[in-house]
Amino acid sequence: MPEFLQHLANAVILGGTYALLGIGLTLIFGIMRVVNFTHGELYTFGAYMAFMLAGMFGLNFFASLALAALLGMALGALIEFALLRPLKGADIDTTMLVMIGAGIAMQAGEQLMWGGVAKSVPNPFPTDPFVLGPVSVGPIRLFVLAVAVVLLVIFYLLLNRTKLGVAMRATFQDPDTAALMGVNNGLMYTLTFAIGSGLAAIAGALLGPIFVVTPTMGDLVALKAFAIVILGGLGNIPGATIGGFVLALVEEFGAGYLSSGYRDAMGFLLIIAVLLVRPQGLFAAKERIG
């Protein structure tokens, strides 16, 4: 029983960051129909920016996080502008190949720039955990969960309560009609890609201090982000949020009670099971994709 509560606490904290990763990716797919293979690299980029700003330049930790997110958005906008815009109208295979190439190039660039030795991001949180009965949680993990929840709420409000959100959703549903209503589709695409990238970058910047920063840290994360998105239904934003928490719960309890060596396989077994029963994902989008 005591370890049950600890597993639960771990899963909820992990779920928050999974959700951040998932919505960033699903947003881009939902609106732009682009399978973003640079998502994991933007996560890595965010972590390295946090390392550079807080670790090398000695900037305030919280300011570094915000700046890392902004830089991630800028890089996302650049990718959209330089790679995706010229490919408008190209078939999905071409776009996918370009994005895979961009992902590989980004990872190689990180390796070249920072080397293979892992980096660690300094943070102002004490290592001494909060202890509540059998559960002990590092203060930085609580901070990460809080930021993730705040970002999820902000993102939800942005999409559902603002004019920009309406314009984005309109572009998602029917770009042509949205354009006729005066929505600048091109701008929406750039913004969407930038916001999705910013979410990946902030997830990396948040988790960098908990884990270590390496050029390949994005590989597994990208795979998980895809898993979350498929679990929740492609392009479905609440689905991706719930998918993030579901994946974290399955991984944590699977690792805790079944086999820790196959922790990462648990999530994917779940996805196979879900796809067999509900091919559209747990929370099907109103509009089928494809």
Binding site: Q6, G115, V117, E252
Partner: protein
Amino acid sequence: MVKKNAFATVATMALMVSGGAMAQDTVKIGVNQPLTGAVAASGNYVTNGARIAEEVLNAKGGVLGKKVALVIEDNKSNPKEAVAAAEKLIVRDKVPVMMGAWSSTLTLAVMPKLVEYSVPMVVETSSSGKITTSGNPWVFRIAPTSAMEAKAFGEKMDQFSPPIKKADFLAVNNDFGRGASDEFRKMLEGKGIKVGVVETMAPEATDLSAQLANIKQSGGDTLFVTTGVEQITLVLKQAAEQRLPQRIITTGGSSSPDQLVAQAGEAANNSYHILFFAPWFPDKATNPDVAKAFVDAWKQKGYDFAGLTEGFRGYDGIMTIAEAVKGAGKAEPQAIRDALWTTKVSGVNGNIAFTKEGPSGKESGQNQPNIYIVQVKDGKVTLP
């Protein structure tokens, strides 16, 4: 496509011609290491050590009157790439001998190619028992097996106070990790010590909270951790977060304690590490002058001090190969293999020599290396 193929053929021919020309005045040694990917840090350290050996050898006039030339290939921390790298080294670069391939999984993947092409390989890091017991007569290992490491550790175990009464394990889920936790478990059980939880983790896993939560509940007093330095950093940080009561001991010699101190900070304090070279105390080595000279050369090159605990493997490996080439009198695979059996080197780790292991008729070579146990105390590496 036709054009591209034609170009590729011409390019390959050009490379082969230039490779052939090079072969006249150098002795080539293939190096197959993970320079990118998950375990890139360690692979680069080993390669740096190999480069120092190359320079030292060439400063003394090379071997057989020729310069030593390392041909370094990146196996990208991936067994498939490790096989491709070995094949490229043998077929295209025509190296008569190789060193590689860091992790047990990478080395095991390469081994069938050694038999296929009849080329010997000196294994500088891998610890899985299978490497020298599977009947591959082209493999010569200077690194200790997990069983040797466990045995040597058992002999030094009395120094722990309070003594180890119940041990738990956390190991990376590959040949290296599982092999080590099996051997240490056997050794401890043989001494009447109880074994609690045995947990594994995927090589690229970052969140180990589930495993640590189980280990915390086991009631053990000592946790043996086997994996590379990146994951050890994560284990130490997360163990501190979860207030793990166990004393942590890392095995495998790839823990780079200085890097742990730099990256895990306070969480690294009071952890113990089994190493095969302790560069802080070169005078404690079997060959203090060799160890000191190597540490000085490493510092002079401006390499990271934290890498020395891995870097020495590359140095010892290349020195062993060079000595075997000298013994063989010619840079040919079969002759080098035969010479390896009688090669004796005063290495950084200790005195290197090979004894036979594995099924008779196709034995592999295995060296008996030294081990050291160090402890991190107040951010400093000490001998406990």
